[in-house]
């Protein structure tokens, strides 16, 4: 039997549900896994939206989260070792990208087009080169699944290009801001697919470990 390396709250909920319904240990582990996935992601999304709302960039934050959701589900990317450090990164990065998008939205359309085109091109190269990027916690075993995920990630990029083209013609007041948010999120996704993204998250993990050790002394 494999060990349950999940957070205490998800283990407790899984044990409770498994006991009530008479499930075996294997199903109990699956329950702990999905409870942890749902709670961590919902918490991260809610905190990111709350921060985006308080910074006055809610539409941009929503656009960033939706784009990141589809890319992360197909292309994968770098990961942090701790759910709390990951939460801090997720809840701050997307509202900051949205804030940057709102500042840059005062640029003229040709400059916005240039940023969008460069972001899409960089992402296309990274997807062709590296996607899907898996992690030891969720390895991609099947080569067929790997191929399907790569195609799916390219389809997501195509959808982003279509949305960017639609927003370019749109009279919506937030169109330029959302356009830039999409472009900057695509750049962030490209960074997370690269070795630099892995190094950044490893560095963030390293800071926290040093502090924890210092705290114990």
């Amino acid at each position: 039997m494999e060990n349950m390396s999940y957070l205490p709250f998800s283990r407790r909920c899984a044990v409770f549900l498994a006991t009530r319904t008479g499930l075996d240990h294997e199903k109990e582990i699956i329950l702990a896994y999905i409870i942890e996935v749902l709670v961590i992601n919902l918490l991260n999304i809610c905190l990111a939206l709350l921060l985006g709302y308080s910074l006055g960039v809610l539409p941009g934050t929503v656009a960033c989260l939706v784009t990141a959701f589809f890319f992360r589900h197909t292309a994968g990317g770098a990961h942090s070792n701790s759910p709390w450090r990951c939460g801090l990164v997720t809840m701050t990065v997307f509202p900051i990208i949205a804030l940057l998008g709102s500042y840059l939205s005062y640029l003229r359309q040709p400059y916005i087009d240039l940023i969008a085109a460069a972001s899409v091109l960089i992402c296309l190269l990274k997807l062709l080169q590296s996607a899907p990027v898996d992690s030891p916690a969720a390895p991609i075993i099947s080569p067929l699944r790997r191929k399907k995920l790569k195609i799916a990630s390219l389809m997501v990029l195509l959808a982003v290009v279509l949305v960017l083209a639609f927003l370019r013609q749109s009279p919506w007041p937030y169109a330029q801001q959302v356009q830039l948010c999409l472009a900057l999120t695509v750049l962030w996704i490209s960074l997370m697919l690269s070795s630099y993204g892995h190094r950044i998250l490893a560095w963030i993990d390293g800071i926290a470990i040093k502090k924890e050790r210092a705290g114990r002394r």
């Binding site: 319904t21 199903k27 699956i30 896994y33 996935v37 197909t74 450090r85 997720t90 969720a138 390895p139």
Partner: protein, 40 residues
């Protein structure tokens, strides 16, 4: 009645686990370890 509700919740969660395990990662920067039985 309680057993039915718990049964429904558990079935729904197991279905979601199957769907979630199909993706290489979720929206956040942390990857919860996928159980051996769901790895593919």
């Amino acid at each position: 009645m309680k057993y039915r509700i718990f049964g429904f919740v558990v079935t729904l969660l197991l279905l979601l686990a199957n769907i979630a395990s199909a993706a290489p990662c979720s929206v956040s920067q942390y990857q919860t370890a996928v159980p051996e039985s769901l790895r593919r």
